[in-house]
């Protein structure tokens, strides 16, 4: 591969019609690089879950996407309410989603556990009242 990419996308809280735009662009970039389809799927599912979380739970955010020979790294950083208890948020079924979010087809408390399942490495840190930072790492070899 040899090629290196670094891109950045902004995400607006509450804007469900655009949620997924960044993940879609990242999918296109990974396809162009010829990354294995199974790795692409796991990467973009995890990224999309994170992007929807920013739209659903935070005020605004950005997604930074970088690829080198060894790995894909995606950092989703937002300004928002933050997560009080990360361990609890990682549990399947835990959700604070509103009925509005549920009507959009989300809010089952499956996103963070699904990100953990799909990512090779997932790191979540958060400060209440400030925001959340989620880092996804995928190994290419």
């Amino acid at each position: 591969m040899g090629e290196k990419i670094a891109d950045q996308y902004s995400v607006t809280g509450g804007d469900f019609s655009r949620a997924g735009y960044a993940s879609s662009q990242i999918k296109k970039s990974l396809k162009k690089l010829g990354v294995d389809m199974a790795i692409i799927k796991r990467t973009v599912v995890a990224t999309y879950e994170g992007e929807v979380n920013i739209v659903a739970h935070a005020w605004s955010g950005k997604i930074v996407f970088a690829v080198d020979d060894e790995k894909i790294r995606i950092v989703l950083e937002d300004e928002g309410p933050g997560i009080e208890d990360i361990e609890q948020a990682m549990e399947e079924g835990f959700s604070t989603a509103t009925s509005e979010i549920r009507e959009m087809g989300f809010g089952a408390g499956m996103g963070l556990p699904n990100m953990k399942k799909n990512a090779d490495h997932l790191h979540v840190e958060s400060e209440v009242g400030k925001g959340t930072r989620v880092e996804i790492t995928m190994h290419l070899n």
Binding site: G20, S23, Y48, G105, F106, M110, G111
Partner: protein
């Protein structure tokens, strides 16, 4: 089962992907909850859903789902059809309930994921 068989069995309308009537699916999953759809690891799955919004199409795009049928007369917007076309996703709509849609396809041999 091919897309043209699905159209016949469900009396469905095709919204995009009409040039691929011989596209074949073997498995189907029915849900209005995209959170659940995103946890599937199978490829080449038909998504049967009553949720018609942009996130339905986005979820399919990320999950490598190439074929969606909207049940209970849910209508896809022009924006949804456009996005599906861009992502090579076949879209159909039918007037049957989710239960009847699933029942008819199951009876004709479309398999569940689990």
């Amino acid at each position: 089962m091919q897309v043209k068989d699905i159209i016949r069995i469900l009396d469905a309308r095709i919204l995009c992907g009409g040039e691929r009537l011989d596209y074949t699916i073997e498995l189907a999953f029915a849900s209005d909850l995209m959170s659940d759809v995103l946890t599937l690891s199978n490829d080449n799955v038909l998504l049967i859903t009553g949720l018609a919004n942009m996130q339905t199409i986005r979820t399919a795009e990320m999950s490598d789902i190439n074929c969606i049928i909207f049940a209970r007369n849910k209508k896809a917007s022009a924006e949804m059809i456009e996005l599906a076309r861009e992502s090579d996703i076949i879209l159909m709509e039918c007037r049957y309930s989710l239960y009847k849609t699933c029942g008819l396809l199951y009876a004709e041999g479309v398999k569940p994921i689990f």
